[in-house]
Symmetry: D2
Subunit: 436 residues, 4 copies
């Protein structure tokens, strides 16, 4: 029997859920989720850290903690943009307003800054009217910012505004902030529910098979790779480099690659490589170019690189730190320079460099991502109304789950080079498993 | 402990898999999949039919049944088009040719007709060269056709062509055909592996959480709904009807709706409804229009209807069979006529009718679907090479699986009106759960 | 020397244009357009009707008729939707408000109904704030309706609302309505400027090389043809029919065809054809199918048909009127039925029918169309402020022009079968110039 | 009467055009173009350089110079990629092969390198079969390269290959090369027709209102600006910079801006500006930000900059040459650094930098561009077959024209800051006309 990972709850659920009534549609049984339902054990899964327990399943509860008439909810969006933020906001507002009957809904602007009075940002009143059409827009109607703020100060703001529920949409840093707010509120004995909504364009949040906006983002990155391929084939010995987001995890680069069999090499932070030497990347690239030529084709290559790849190259004997960027080297520029230099006396190549950067994350969510956002938005509303706190809603192989923030923060989901996923990527590119 | 659903195998695997060598990249351990690995129990899942056993997991096996040097594989694509067919074909060819070393690859044209000599269709030789760029194309480079052919005749063709492995890409009918071929081959004692690749734009194959091309298809349908919404708001009392594919299962209609909060009603085959009466669809539609007007908005409505919805309306007292289409009524036309008639004396409405039909299924796969296709293509190659037969590769909550064809054929995955999924759809539209 | 086609003017221009000041940017000379500037002669051009005079050129005038402080402008959008209506509205509002200083801007809703009090439609106040983001939306924020209203009643409304300028965005019917309003106002001696903004998805307005939204629309139609092509090649002897808009003019069908060399036949209202007989369409289609097969290819065909094509088939000896649609036959359905019947005993064909209908006209304008809309919006503002009336702004081989409404209404731009354009279409399809 | 700009011709046209026969469709008169037809005078037009003569009109001639049976044609594509190259190639091949009956068609690969034997590039045989589907592909199936080759050597190659007609698809440099080849051939008395097809993503070729691919390219750039806008609004005091192509002419930047009313500043090579000072760009930017804040909006700004803008900033007193890039400074990086520095003590801004680079030029042509390509392809075929040489086909306010290469090379079409076009751009952004 799977054991359940426990979730902090503010207290007993004394109110009947208004959903069967408010939705005015369930003539039979309303499909509530039981508090006892758990996912299959997460054991042995990538990112599970040896976990042998299952997650509590997300969904509407028959009894809820908060009395909707006396409840106010706030939303804050932090960190970088991701397709789908507005879909989540829209769903939260619609669900809370129409189905739960929570009429006071506040949008804190510019991330956690919006909860720190000294920034002087206005608070935005949210209503069905004001969010009706926002799902067509990229970005966040609340805007965002980076960086933490003082938890005590933020809880003071929430108390002053009479907010009982706070939804924090963001990545690792945001979830840390949410955890701190939740802890501070628990310490003060406040009935304040703090719920995280995992958002990361890098898809690197632990215990989340995927995060919203990710599919939209790498689909856009695919366009960049297609351009790179056209350019590589459009010139003598063309080599195109596409640099994509991904500081610690190469999921965008790897998924883009999987979707594009035209990619010849993908370099990610999880798989170190050397540039030089017989097995190094440059020699592999040269071999590929010569092989394509020999087999009657046109020598060309497409290289996808995550921004965090090859950081090991920036220290030590290669002395490249001198070029300025000591902390986090610009691997794209390094590749450009090194490839040009390497081929100078070997083969006249035509190098192209493409960096779509923000283009991939400022889009509206595509339909599949949009659906995911609507589920997430609903499930965090249900979790909050049932009095849960200090948790986020995750997605685990087909199940929406409740995950304690403590379990998530500080971990990162990363590509496992021994996984099916990476094997599939190597099948697709044909690149050597090791270039070191 | 989960019990495993057994898969038919042609014999013991006597050959070492060439993958670690051929891929020339596994410097450490190659991540083979164990024959003993099973998914969590499928019990209690939608479509599981009370199943309490897990599925065998797909993936490359350390030992294989077929000797690649003496193996020839065929591919056939049947039924309606779906985004991603060419991606699957491409992967199969690349994987078998480069990694397994199977050099003889045949494409049977125009579905099962290509296996029936009397049609005289040519057989297409497939090679890495000929499939390199086909992932950019919609449709199937092999073309397709509908309908079964005689299994004995088809096995004769395969034997005559020296084919050891047949991949059948198609839906329920195709999988039935594949099952018949597999059974016929087993009866004759042939070492012929027949592997199904589930393909259905309706996403209605049992034991498959999703099928390839489905996301691409409903994403396109979303465009039609957005048009419908613009048209509905662009005229006095505008009502737009969008008819989508889905004969027995309303997944396209329902997912399109979930992705579009502008949809007011979605009608699917799984949820019967009445047109007339106080709780009937027409009265519900009128109430919605009047409500929107009352609350200061502009009365308008968007209705999504699956082609198989409301078939119960075509018999009996309403006498609508007279209009010709007795067997499978055109619900779109019926709605158009009935709505016009109903509102004639109640409210001057502006009706628009949109039917994107083939537009949603003839596209190339979007990037997320493409990845799914590459996985599928790989996994069916692995399954075949390991000597499995009479099975398909399914996808079950994050796992690729081996599923006996017998288990699949004749069943259809349908929307469960008591499920989380349908609850979510009702949340999104706000339509009554019952209109009968 | 080109003579100029005269435009009605309300009176002398006594006010200096505020543009050099308001735009606060012209440190040198502001590039006003002279009243004397004319286009090259329109003589001999398609649609010129033997015209030997040039058009007055559009653009900002140094002196204007209306005093912005005492001026109010109204906008009305009529007829079917077209991509770009909102771009025109946005530009009008921004230009009049910020640059001319006209602060009272009214949107009449639901077409001419909005000027007829008995419909009770609200008048919408327009401001930079309310139109800022509308260019991203398809449709019209003012909504539309079809059909005329009483000119006297509409002038009464304009007078009652204190409106001095009315912009009528619409097609032939709308321009007729605008002409009637302008005439009525002139008759009453009112200083009311009525300016037409030509809008037609069919691109059939006289003296306009192109209308806004047309490029966006046929670009979308191209997708339908690409689908049709994929479907035609995806089945044995596949024949796909795509029915597009175009009642009297086949520009959408013909341009879609020009952009798609995969189209084999395009049928437009301007070129009559027969179905039967040795030179008839059906025999031509059969010959094409057989030829493709003979030359080693796969027999398939893509047919594009404008909704108004082949209307001559619906009378007389073929007796097809019996099927109900006497006035305007459904040529798409006729083709479907006739092709199926014709090939029944000749060749087993697979027929597909695609009708994208509203999908092509409810989109936001593409960037090239958007620019065109911004120009149009500006030029109609300039024309109105200079006291011109009873005219529209046209586009004539690179020049924006002032065109008297009288010259336009009742004419239709149609494809000239003897033109370069049609020759180009025939080159592209390879179809016979005559099938009658 | 308009005088005609003369075009070099190889000799009298002694052959009847096969078009009426080959197209087998002109049952009446075939619409040939007269040699006497001229466009309206080009006088006074932007780029006309005071020209008072009209251009010869392009189109099929009744009599042709080359005997198709003894004619071979070559195609070469040079310089940077542009959407639509493959459409032009396809049309040329189809037109020459099917309609004129020229069966020997050669593709020289990798630009003028393909005509210089020492590179050893293969020559590609072109046929209807090999080009049938290339219009769906971005780039050039012939690939390209930059830089000139020796005209004598290239003419030698053409003679050796028996080529009578050479189509050179490219920009200013290519047309110079084509002119040199034509002159060399004329000097030798060869009956070799050299025809230019103007291609430039920057739209800067003289006597061409537009070049193919340009609309596709700036439409893609619009996406980058929309991203920039989303990012600018998504952070506190967000400022986004979008750097676009355009070394000497700012047409891409300016048209992208015209299509996007969200752009606040566009910087182009034609309009010099200062960074510092009260009227400099930085002060203007600050004023805009503060104004937006004051009027209750959210301070944010979107800046579009052409790569060739502000080159005057890279010399002299600002001493910026020290940073390395003396010849052609990276204006995007300069803006990034300068804006950051300027605002450091004034306002905490969030800067984003987007450079879509090759993404905008490697796409397939959009439908409107595709049509333009088909026209161009046809018209250059007609021009060549009629024995014209040393010319290109231009597009002039609605007319396809014959333009002598001598007239074109060395000139560049640039934005005229006193034009309607630039006035329209300033209207759209609201930026000061002068920032110096």
């Amino acid at each position: 029997m799977t054991q359940m990972i426990p979730i902090t709850r503010l207290g007993p659920c004394r109110h009947k859920s208004p959903l069967p009534e408010s939705t005015a549609r369930a003539t039979g049984q309303f499909p509530f989720m039981s508090d006892l339902a758990a996912t299959p054990s997460a054991s042995g899964e990538p990112g599970s850290g040896g976990e042998t327990r299952g997650f509590e399943r997300a969904g509407p509860r028959e009894h809820i903690f908060f009395d909707p008439a006396n409840t106010a909810a706030g939303i804050v969006t932090c960190g970088g943009l991701s397709p789908g933020i507005n879909n989540v906001i829209r769903t939260l507002v619609m669900q809370l307003y129409y189905h739960y009957g929570v009429k006071r809904l506040l949008g804190f602007r510019f991330g956690f800054q919006g909860l720190a009075p000294r920034y002087g940002h206005d608070v935005m009143e949210l209503s069905p009217q004001s969010v009706r059409d926002i799902h067509a827009l990229g970005g966040s109607i609340l805007s965002s910012s980076r960086g933490p703020q003082d938890p005590a100060e933020m809880v003071d703001t929430l108390v002053a505004q009479g907010v009982n529920i706070l939804f924090c949409i963001g990545g690792d840093g945001t979830l840390k902030g949410a955890h701190a707010i939740a802890q501070e509120a628990l310490r003060r004995g406040l009935a304040l529910s703090v719920i995280g909504v995992p958002k990361t364009i890098d898809n690197d949040i632990a215990y989340c098979v995927k995060t919203f906006g990710f599919e939209t983002a790498f689909a856009k990155a695919v366009e960049a790779v297609q351009s790179a391929h056209v350019e590589a084939k459009g010139a003598p010995n063309g080599i195109s480099i596409v640099k994509l987001m991904g500081r610690d995890s190469g999921f965008i680069a790897a998924n883009t690659t999987l979707a594009c069999p035209d990619v010849d090499f993908v370099l990610v932070p999880e798989v170190p490589f050397k540039l030089e030497g017989e097995n190094g990347f440059l020699a592999c690239l040269e071999r590929l170019m010569r092989e394509k030529g020999r087999s009657g084709g046109q020598p060309h290559a497409v290289i996808v690189v995550a921004e965090g790849a090859g950081q090991e190259l920036f220290q030590g004997e290669k002395g490249r730190d001198a070029s300025g960027n000591v902390k986090y080297g610009d691997i794209g520029q390094v590749l450009k320079v090194e490839i040009a230099q390497y081929f100078r006396d070997r083969m006249p190549v035509t190098l192209k460099y493409i960096e779509p950067s923000y283009l991939i994350r400022s889009l509206p969510a595509n339909p599949h991502d949009a659906i995911f956002c609507y589920y997430l938005g609903d499930h965090v509303a249900h979790a909050a109304m049932s009095g849960r706190t200090d948790m986020m809603v995750g997605y685990w192989n087909g199940y929406y789950t409740h995950v304690p923030l403590e379990l998530v923060v500080g971990h990162r989901k990363r590509i496992d080079p021994a996984s099916d996923f990476w094997r599939q990527v190597l099948f697709s590119t044909g690149q050597p498993a090791r270039m070191d």
